[in-house]
Symmetry: C2
Subunit: 131 residues, 2 copies
C-alpha cells in the first residue's frame, strides 16, 4: 500500500519532468489539485490551476529547460501523503544544459478520483545564491 503511493508519486514526478521538458506549463499545472498552493522562494504563495500554470509558464519563458526531481522520502495516511525531495533546474548554456538552481522541496500530495495530485508545493535553495 505504502509502496503503491510511492510508485504513484514517482510516476507523477516523471510526468512533471516530461511536461516541463516539453515546455507544457498546462500539463504541469494539471498535475496539481484544482485548489493547490505553490510557495516559490522570493515570491508570494499562489493558489489555483491558472496561477500555477502561469507561474510555470513564466519559469519556462525565463529560460528554464528542464526540472529534475529526486524523491528522498514518502509517507502517507489515507488520502494524504507527503514527499521530501531534492530538485535541480536546468537552462541552456553555451555547451549544453547547465544547472540554473538546485535545492530541496516538500510536496503534499492528495488522492483525488483515485490518482495522486500535488496539493502544496514548496521549495528552496540548498546553498546561498551568489550576490
Amino acid at each position: 500500500m505504502m509502496e503503491d503511493v510511492r510508485s504513484a508519486i514517482k510516476e507523477a514526478n516523471q510526468r512533471f519532468m516530461n511536461a516541463f521538458k516539453a515546455g507544457d506549463a498546462a500539463a504541469v499545472a494539471a498535475l496539481y489539485t484544482p485548489d493547490a498552493r505553490i510557495l516559490p522562494p522570493d515570491a508570494q504563495m499562489m493558489e489555483g490551476a491558472e496561477a500555477i500554470r502561469s507561474f510555470w509558464h513564466g519559469a519556462m519563458q525565463s529560460g528554464l529547460t528542464a526540472a529534475k526531481l529526486e524523491t528522498v522520502d514518502v509517507e502517507s495516511s489515507g488520502d494524504l501523503a507527503y514527499e521530501v525531495g531534492r530538485f535541480a533546474l536546468y537552462k541552456q548554456g553555451d555547451g549544453g544544459e547547465i544547472i540554473a538552481g538546485a535545492g530541496k522541496y516538500v510536496v503534499v500530495w492528495k488522492r483525488q478520483n483515485g490518482g495522486w495530485k500535488l496539493a502544496a508545493d514548496i521549495w528552496n535553495a540548498s546553498t546561498r545564491a551568489p550576490a
Copy 2:
C-alpha cells in the same frame, strides 16, 4: 475532528513561539518528531532532534529574538496533517524589536502518542532579500 487538529496545531505553534521567545532551542526541538526533517533556505536539509535543536540554537545565537507563526490552512487525514502558513522572525533593533525576515511555510504534522508534532518543516522568503 478537523477542528481538533487545527486547535492542536495552533496550540503547538503557540508553544513554538513561547519557546523561541524564551531562547529555549531544546523546547523548540521537542515539538518535532524524533526523526523530523527541517529544510531551511540556503542550507542542506537536516534530520533528527539534535540537528534541529542545534539549528534553532544557532538562529537564536545569531540574534533572532522571536518568531511569529500564522496558520493559513490546515488539512488532515488520519495521523497526518499539513499546515500552510506565514511567519515573521524578529531581532533587536535600536528602538525595539524589528523584523529580520518574513515568508511562508509548509509544516507536515504527525500524530504521535496522541499529540501532534512537526515531522517536516520547510520555509522560504516572500520577497527577494536585498543584495
